[in-house]
């Protein structure tokens, strides 16, 4: 799809979210809530008494952004099915090893999970949502996100070597 039209579509969804929910889109919060639920199932009292997850109580999944995250997976599935774009694969450069790509995906994921809690949001909740609200901090986050990405890009380029 034309990226600009896709952007208008995405922006309209965000606008609808502002008008109806009174809150923008979000993804990392949903993941963090799932993380809290997992930690609860392993170490209940520890989690409940922890400072960050503890305040979400015993039912962290009962939260609108968890449902939004589930919806995002479903929406992606519908769209990918309709366009026949589902293919089971590990995306990487042809010359890169599977191990390299898996390690980068895992470590990158951990960093993303951590950083989005620190900044109270990710590309969706801070950069996109806060950016559209013209909030200073969210735009600072957006700039730093690209700065961090470009700084690190050179060092992890091998995973895309063909």
């Amino acid at each position: 799809m034309n990226p600009y039209l896709a952007g208008v579509f995405l922006g309209s969804v965000l606008l609808a979210s502002f008008l109806v929910l009174g809150a923008g889109l979000g993804a990392s919060s949903g993941l963090a809530r799932i993380a809290a639920a997992l930690e609860l199932s392993i170490a209940k009292t520890h989690t409940l008494s922890s400072e960050y997850f503890g305040k979400w109580g015993e039912t962290p999944l009962n939260y609108y952004l968890v449902f939004m995250f589930v919806g995002t997976v479903l929406g992606g599935l519908f769209s990918a099915l309709a366009a026949k774009r589902i293919s089971f694969q590990l995306e990487k450069g042809k010359a890169a090893s599977r191990l390299l790509r898996i390690s980068f995906a895992l470590i990158g994921g951990i960093i993303i999970g951590y950083a989005s809690r620190l900044a109270q949001g990710c590309t969706s909740g801070q950069a996109l949502t806060g950016g559209a609200l013209l909030l200073t901090g969210s735009l600072v986050f957006l700039i730093c996100l690209f700065a961090g990405g470009y700084l690190a890009a050179y060092f992890v380029r091998r995973q895309w070597n063909d």
Binding site: P3, Y4, G7, F9, L10, G11, V13, L14, L15, F18, V20, G22, A23, G24, S28, G30, A35, E58, Y64, F67, F69, G71, T72, V73, L74, G75, G76, S79, A80, I86, F88, Q89, E91, R101, F104, A105, L106, G109, I111, G113, Y114, A115, S116, R117, C122, T123, L128, T129, L133, L135, T136, G137, V140, C144, L145, G149, L151, A153, V156, W160
Partner: protein, 668 residues
């Protein structure tokens, strides 16, 4: 005007969850259609190969931004009904840099990884598992990272305010930068990959033009309104020379162009300035409790409708307890073309502090001129009838009370007829010497067995009888005088709290300070005529063990155990079981008291504020205080509620006596 689910506070209902699911589905479709189900494509932006991320993201951002601003201009929605994230520089800079590194490594961000997962990408699954681990890691290291998490917190901060531009101009500039970026990245793509699908295309030209026109239109609608400076000669209508620096104040007004200083507002209202429309935007019940004389109460969401007749006529001044809400409302009204909206500097709390706090209660010396002003203001705003100073002076206290009073003030006022002084020391101490006119009463006479629990505050009906026997009337100002233990006074203050008699103060330093300053004492018994004190039950702060138990389960309250530490730790015990309520935080009541050589004083509000800030996150946090019998905890209750302004404080009177004796209740 749309009421969003957030503004109605129903984001946790099943309707909200269902809507979120639907919005999530649309979000997923949009991301997938944009081609974001591929990590290779997403990371292309960092190698200048595929700039789709920037194109989609900035288009979406600008679309939603313009849409929301148009919706506000049309009066469809006000920005207060949208959840706004605070700007926290430290966390957002470091978080952003880290996030960027994680993004380029994994090739995903949380939203796109969800779509990648749905498209069958194993690396998306791995990334999601990593992000879950990262979240858990964050929780486990929260204590360590917390200083950074709140570092540089600016509260809600809009780019327009950071840049000192109007919202319309900011949005317009942002759109221009976006359009330039689209052309720029198309060029980059052409250079790096040798082809660009849209560079110079009819589509991009039209698209750019549409965005440009929309932003331009918006800027014209919002107007390039800069707020006028509100500079009036301060105190121009009074001959009284005011001794604090007029210059400094004027300068302050000039710098904070959209604010009006408390003193200036007071002067204008006092002089019956018809130009000022004062609007209290707090909830109705708070307004009913107390508001600045002459203020009208309008809900935030109704402001633009109700104020339309005052648009650019005279001056509209908004206030709340603090400044955030009025500032947001002012911005919103500003966008709707109101150029005459100002907010009260430091809100109602600042106003009370600066203009209405009795001179006797101020820590810094007050020049005579200002003291006269303050008396005038107090007279006007606190409803004092002219020429009746003596008695009314005491009544005025109602608006500062409950609070602490000092010996100097009491020595000037103790003879007034509406003043009732209760001496809480032992009978023989009272008999040998007391403040003239004071009545002896033991704090224990207000406590007894209720439902089998010993030493709890008696029911309101009994309390009001005891109060009647002392001749206290609802309008009296009651002064509580302790001996060595400030918490004797605070225990008795719970009586007046329960009866809704807010017109009381505690003599800071107690009888011993009064005595050590050589002030007048005598041994006479005062004459008392019984009153019939109305039975009034204003107690919404006493909680029972079930509430505490529920609070532990819900984790929605901070439980403050104010007993000495060795009792909290279970090293000492006079009760059925030793230890403390699970999750309770220990803040011994003795920490809040300073011992002078002859008497005990409450620590200063500054000291107490700092101490409790580190324990309690916000003024509205739910707090349950308890000790063994409710006695010591009454002191913490008084401090939090009446000195520090915490609004959600509860008192578990039964305390450890009851908790430890109920074997079914958990302890630690």
């Amino acid at each position: 005007m749309i009421d969003t689910l957030y503004s109605l506070n129903i984001l946790d209902t099943s309707l909200a969850l269902l809507i979120s699911l639907v919005l999530g589905i649309l979000f997923g479709v949009a991301l997938e259609k944009a081609g974001f189900g591929s990590s290779r494509r997403l990371s292309g932006i960092f190698y200048f190969k595929d700039m789709a991320v920037l194109k989609v993201m900035f288009t979406a951002l600008i679309t939603a931004m313009l849409g929301l601003l148009y919706a506000q201009a049309l009066g469809l929605i006000s920005v207060e009904s949208v959840y706004l994230m605070p700007t926290i520089y430290g966390a957002q800079i470091i978080g952003g840099l880290l996030f960027g590194i994680g993004f380029v490594m994994s090739g995903w961000c949380p939203g796109t990884a969800a779509v990648g997962l749905a498209s069958g990408k194993w690396d998306a699954l791995i990334c999601i598992l990593g992000a879950i681990l990262g979240s858990i890691l964050f929780n486990e290291t929260f204590h360590f990272i917390q200083p950074l998490y709140t570092n540089g917190n600016q509260g809600i901060l809009f780019l327009s305010d950071s840049l000192h531009l109007s919202k319309g101009v900011t949005a317009f500039l942002f759109t221009i930068i976006g359009i330039a970026a689209f052309w720029g990245v198309e060029k980059i793509e052409q250079k790096v990959t040798g082809k660009s699908e849209y560079l110079g295309s009819q589509f991009l030209k039209i698209f750019s033009f549409v965005l440009f026109s929309a932003a331009l239109g918006l800027m014209l609608i919002y107007g390039q309104t800069t707020r006028k400076a509100l500079v009036y000669p301060f105190f121009k209508n009074t001959q009284t020379a005011c001794l604090f620096s007029e210059q400094a104040l004027l300068q302050k007004v000039e710098e904070a162009q959209d604010h009006i200083a408390a003193e200036e507002l007071a002067e204008r209202l006092l002089n019956n300035n018809q130009e000022v429309l004062l609007v209290d935007v707090r909830p109705e019940n708070e307004y009913a409790n107390f508001h600045i004389k002459g203020a009208v109460n309008i809900r935030l969401s109704d402001l633009s409708e109700q104020l339309i007749g005052y648009k650019n006529q005279g001056i509209i001044v908004l206030y709340s307890n603090g400044m955030t809400h009025p500032a947001q409302a002012r911005d919103s009204l500003n966008r709707q073309g109101f150029n005459n909206v100002y907010i009260l500097t430091d809100g109602l709390l600042g106003f009370v502090d600066l203009c209405l706090k009795p001179v006797a209660l101020r820590s810094e010396p007050v020049p005579d001129g200002l003291a006269q002003k303050i008396n005038l203001w107090r007279g006007y705003f606190l409803g004092q009838a002219k020429g009746q100073k003596g008695v009314e002076e005491v009544r005025n206290f109602a608006h500062k009370a409950p609070g602490l009073i000092d010996t100097q003030w009491l020595s000037e006022n103790y003879k007034k007829p509406d003043m009732k002084i209760l001496d809480l020391r032992s009978q023989n101490e009272y008999n040998t010497s007391h403040i003239p006119g004071s009545l002896a009463i033991s704090p224990e006479s207000f406590r007894g067995v209720v439902k089998g629990v010993p030493s709890v505050l008696l029911p309101a009906a009994i309390l009001s009888q005891t109060i009647s026997l002392m001749g206290i009337k609802p309008n009296d100002f009651v002064v509580l005088v302790y001996g060595e233990k400030p918490h004797d006074a605070t225990l008795v203050s719970m009586v007046f709290e329960r009866l809704g008699h807010e017109n009381y103060g505690i003599l800071n330093g107690g009888f011993l300070k009064w005595q050590s300053e050589g002030r007048l004492v005598d041994t006479e018994l005062p004459k008392v005529i019984d009153s019939s004190y109305r039975l009034n039950y204003a107690d919404n702060f006493t909680v029972y063990y079930k509430t505490v138990l529920q609070a532990i389960k819900d984790k929605d309250a901070i439980i403050l155990d104010v007993r000495p530490q060795d009792y909290y730790l279970g090293q000492k015990s006079d009760e059925a079981r030793a230890g403390h309520i699970p999750g309770a935080i220990n803040r011994p009541y003795t920490e809040d008291i300073r011992k002078a050589d002859k008497y005990s004083l409450f620590k200063t509000v500054d000291e107490l504020t700092t101490a409790y800030k580190s324990i309690i996150p916000t003024n509205a946090s739910k707090i349950i205080v308890h000790c063994r019998t409710g006695h010591q905890a009454s002191q913490t209750f008084f401090i939090l509620k009446n000195l520090l302004g915490y609004t959600n404080v509860y008192w578990y009177d039964g305390g450890w006596t009851e908790w430890s004796a109920r074997k079914e209740l958990p302890i630690k």
